[in-house]
Symmetry: C2
Subunit: 344 residues, 2 copies
């Protein structure tokens, strides 16, 4: 037993050391997926600049490929509401994020800023139109953003603003750094269906197969992408969101062909206030969805962290103190459910 | 002569091969500089969510350190109007950008999204206020963006939209990919002085010294940052912008302590239309500024690429076909003017 413990300790030390080693990157860069040309109205439009075209609905993607990526399926990570791809990078308290950890586990990682967010830009036409009087104020989009107060409870840092759960896994001493990541969300500007879904499906095709990962607002985007075009979607990781529960048999048949992991953290029912009920409600929709996919012959798994003895995880679980432990759960799931045929 | 040519060819082949080698990254990640808390009005504000605080004016910074960075001063790159840090990454036609090239030349590189742009977010308060009727449409910001038509001439791809200069260095076959990088610019929302200046100065201090590089809208930001706090500013690279020509003696004395490189491309006076005159006008302000700093005893250099025999460069010269040649000019300048004391 003592030698087992010593061995486990040695392994964890080794792992920590490995994570500090220089990274060997075979290739890195960025590009866009999708995008259409439309006519717009810049406030600085020159007299002879008519027509005035802009590109909208493009999705910015930043990637790194490890030297030994060949054996593994690339992973595409898409952030949630009022956030950017910063979600997956250095944690608020300065630890390694999932993007680098997956890379160190020999996965090619693609971070996509949702359409209408961050480096993907957005369509500002309506704002300039309202300013010039050509459109009404009511036509402005609802610009969604999470205040510190809303984030505290919706992200399940504690029962009420200013109080943390005793076993909270989010690095609360660095919560101010998370607040800096929270940026306005123009998704209400977007056409239906959300262009990010189509762009994610196209990216998966472009990569000759990928695992699509979504979180919160984008948690169900991998499924939506697969409904548009499942060709490139080798696996789906959906983290803490509301699931669709009224898919038709044909849609469920599409879902049943793709391994799906749905992950939820802790304290789902422990938050007070107006958002108190959302997580148990969202969880129930996903439980139903997973059951429906399973009934359709699919490989869908609902992973409830507390049931695995992993307690205290917030909604921002990719930034929680045990984030690499959770990453390992996902990596193991990908190995077994998405890549098993290749590995055998 | 033949052997010299063969040697030169061998060297260029070697360099190209080096640029395809795996990258060895000692450390990478992202963080924010600056940021303040203010009260705002999310459209989804919960009844008990008052006060509703958000963080604004933070600057997102993404970095990579090479294994052999120790001997070199880090370089901070800040993009221009209607663009993001994508500016410095993979070029529109898929070649290596300056961020990776500088890294391969053993420089730590820090890419900052300007405050109010991309992953730095922006303050959406006024938009929600106008929508709700609490503020007037005229209070909306001018959302600046460059249409395809405006970009073509302002970025000096050719004399008029649709026509390229015969010796144009921008990869015109990929101009649609540049259009995807062009995103709305909320700088008109920002307080005075622009928080990006303070954040850049603070970043330079945090890095214990850095070369600050700006382009176009941000071309003079390094100088503005140094006027706020020159402590960390080891060198300045200003690319294609308007310069301030009315600094007082004290400000010029500050400038005179920092090596400054100002770089301009080709065809400054060859563009037709309403923006036809801006580049020769901007160039003249910078010529005057460089003369003033030189007269104050400083080390300021105005680099005109055509005078070096380098023809056809656009405003987006970090993406031009000869972008690595231009990067080498900057690297050599840094070696000589910023780091010479250390190297000797």
């Amino acid at each position: 037993m003592r030698s087992l413990l010593a061995f486990a300790f040695a392994c964890s030390v080794l792992t920590a050391a490995d994570n500090n080693k220089p990274l060997l990157v075979a290739e890195q860069g960025s590009f866009f997926v999708g995008g259409e040309t439309k006519s717009s109205n810049p406030p600085n439009a020159a007299p002879d600049a008519t027509p005035s075209d802009v590109t909208v609905n493009q999705m910015y993607v930043q990637y790194q490929k490890p030297v030994n990526a060949g054996q593994h399926v690339p992973v595409v990570m898409v952030h949630g509401c009022c956030l950017s791809s910063k979600t997956w990078e250095t944690t608020p308290d300065g630890r390694m994020g999932w993007n680098e950890y997956f890379l160190r586990k020999n996965r090619s990682v693609y971070l996509a800023d949702q359409v209408a967010r961050a480096r993907s830009g957005f369509d500002a036409t309506i704002i300039n139109s309202v300013k010039s009087g050509a459109a009404k104020p009511s036509q402005l989009p609802n610009v969604l953003f999470a205040s510190h107060q809303v984030a505290w409870t919706v992200f399940r840092f504690g029962p009420t603003y200013g109080t943390a759960f005793p076993d909270e896994q989010f690095p609360m001493q660095a919560v101010d750094e998370l607040y800096k990541q929270m940026i306005p969300d123009f998704n209400s500007l977007l056409p239906t269906p959300n262009p990010t879904w189509k762009d994610m499906a196209a990216l998966a095709v472009q990569l000759h197969g990928a695992v699509l990962m979504g979180h919160s607002e984008s948690g169900f985007f991998p499924e939506e992408a697969a409904l548009i075009d499942p060709t490139g979607v080798r696996g789906i990781v959906s983290i803490e969101m509301a699931c669709t529960t009224n898919m038709n048999p044909q849609q469920l048949a599409t879902m049943a062909k793709i391994p799906i992991l749905v992950m939820f953290g802790d304290h789902l029912g422990d938050v007070k206030g107006p958002f108190g009920g959302i997580w148990t409600m969202n969880f129930e929709t996903c439980k139903k969805f997973v059951d429906q996919v399973t009934a359709a012959g699919g490989d869908a798994q609902l992973m409830e962290l507390p049931k695995l003895g992993i307690k205290g995880n917030s909604h921002m679980l990719m930034q929680d103190k045990n984030n690499l432990q959770l990453a390992d759960l996902i990596l193991t799931w990908i190995d077994k459910h998405v890549e098993a045929k290749k590995i055998r």
